[in-house]
Amino acid sequence: MIVEVKNISKTYDNGIEALRDVNLSFPKGQLSTLLGPSGCGKTTLLKIIAGLIPRNAGEVLVNGKPVDGPGAERAFVFQDFALLPWADVLRNVGFGLELRGTPRPEREEVARKYIAEVGLKGFEHRYPAQLSGGMRQRVGLARALTVNADIILMDEPFSSVDEQTRRKFQEDLLDLLRHHQKTVIFVTHSIEEAAYLSDQIALLSPRPGRVAKIVRPNVDHSRSPDEIRRDRGYLDTVDEIWGMLRQYV
């Protein structure tokens, strides 16, 4: 277990209880998803794991040690991309290293490598305004990869992107992650997406956020993406999850 979350509770200033006594473990090298309807606290939990918002109770352990704020071993991919509008793709991707003081030639070299890996080769000197939503998110992902964090936290990364791009993205993401052996904690509200991508899915129930169930999809990822989407195991997983979540809608 590379990341563990113990007895996490969070109440916002306005009195809304976002999370209550959440306990979860995230296996190393696997893609785990936090899934649930809006208001279940999944993004809150992800940001607590990232160290971006404080928790009221409990602790977050990374490699067995408690953490309190952001760290070099965790990188975050934002839902609204969070790209610097005045910087080109090359600078945006290298921004994490820039903040660490990595000298420019070195960080540009690393940035170029990952820009190519996410399929944006040739776009190094474009600006975010010139890119589509899907391309902007690739920049966000490349940025998270350049800092060489073991754990990548993704907050509904494909929700601002159209359906076709989203499917392609999911497939590319799995390839990329397998290649780099990262641990990923993923937040989504799409059941199909969770079933397709995940090694484990934590279902969260809303108001207040609690872990309702943990599902391990029985999906054979060695098959082609189209085959997977028709596979029995995948379809059963989707049905099982919907059965559980529909009561909260």
Binding site: L52, P70, A72, L84, W86
Partner: protein, 240 residues
């Protein structure tokens, strides 16, 4: 676009010509006489000389205002204490008719350059400060969080995110500040003591040379409009 612009000019000057020829008042010159008067003043150098005089306090005032105003606005944006102390003052100053205080400047600093520079500063400062302040305060929280997620320090946050983001509004503030500066210098030259353009306006008014008086007025409006337009185009190119 071009056609409409030409039609617009034609309409305006056409109406002006008609209005001028209407026998309502001898003091309202038609467009043609004004235009001729303008040409004459350019030729005999009186217009040029006047602008050289007017430009000094205007540019000096706006330049000083820019440096101090932007710095102060940034300070207000970054420090809650400075914000708490200064924001109410600047909110009032923005709405206040500062012109009322201008006669007082004459007492304090006489009728020379200092008063005029101060008049420009008094009118331009609030808008420059407020825009710089708003530029800093309106930094998207998402970008700040992103910076924190990569363990950026507060200094890095300010230098790499807050300030670049604020640059657009700061520039807008400068443009609006220049507009206020024009207003300030005209009021100063009409109220404190006539020099430069204000002098041309007052003098020609006093000798009832209305075409020249109106030409001077039209010229300052035109100069203000053109310089502000150029700044706006620059702004659009720098901050798409």
């Amino acid at each position: 676009m071009r056609r409409w612009q030409l039609a617009s000019f034609a309409l305006f000057f056409g109406l002006w010509e008609l209005a001028g020829r209407w026998p309502v008042s001898p003091a309202f010159p038609p467009f043609s006489s004004t235009f001729l008067a303008l040409i004459e003043m350019v030729r005999d150098g009186s217009l040029g000389k006047a602008y050289l005089i007017t430009a000094q306090p205007l540019l000096l005032g706006v330049a000083l205002c820019a440096v101090a105003g932007i710095a102060f606005g940034i300070g207000m944006g970054l420090s809650r204490t400075i914000e708490w102390l200064s924001l109410p003052v600047f909110i009032i100053l923005q709405a206040a008719p500062m012109a009322a205080i201008i006669p007082l400047l004459t007492y304090m600093y006489g009728i020379g350059l200092t008063s005029k520079v101060l008049a420009v500063i008094m009118l331009a400062a609030p808008v420059i400060v407020m825009n710089s302040y708003k530029g800093i305060r309106n930094t998207p929280p998402s970008l700040l969080q992103m910076c924190r997620s990569f363990q950026g320090t507060r200094v890095q946050e300010v230098l790499k995110i807050v300030l670049p983001h604020a640059a657009a509004l700061i520039f807008t503030g400068l443009r609006l500040g220049l507009a206020m500066g024009f207003i300030g210098i005209v009021i100063a030259e009409l109220l404190i003591t006539p020099t430069g353009i204000g002098d041309l306006i007052s003098y020609h008014g006093s000798v009832a040379d209305y075409p020249k008086m109106f030409a001077s007025i039209a010229s300052i409006v035109a100069v203000a409009a053109i310089s502000l337009h150029l700044l706006q185009r620059l702004e659009r190119r720098l901050f798409p």
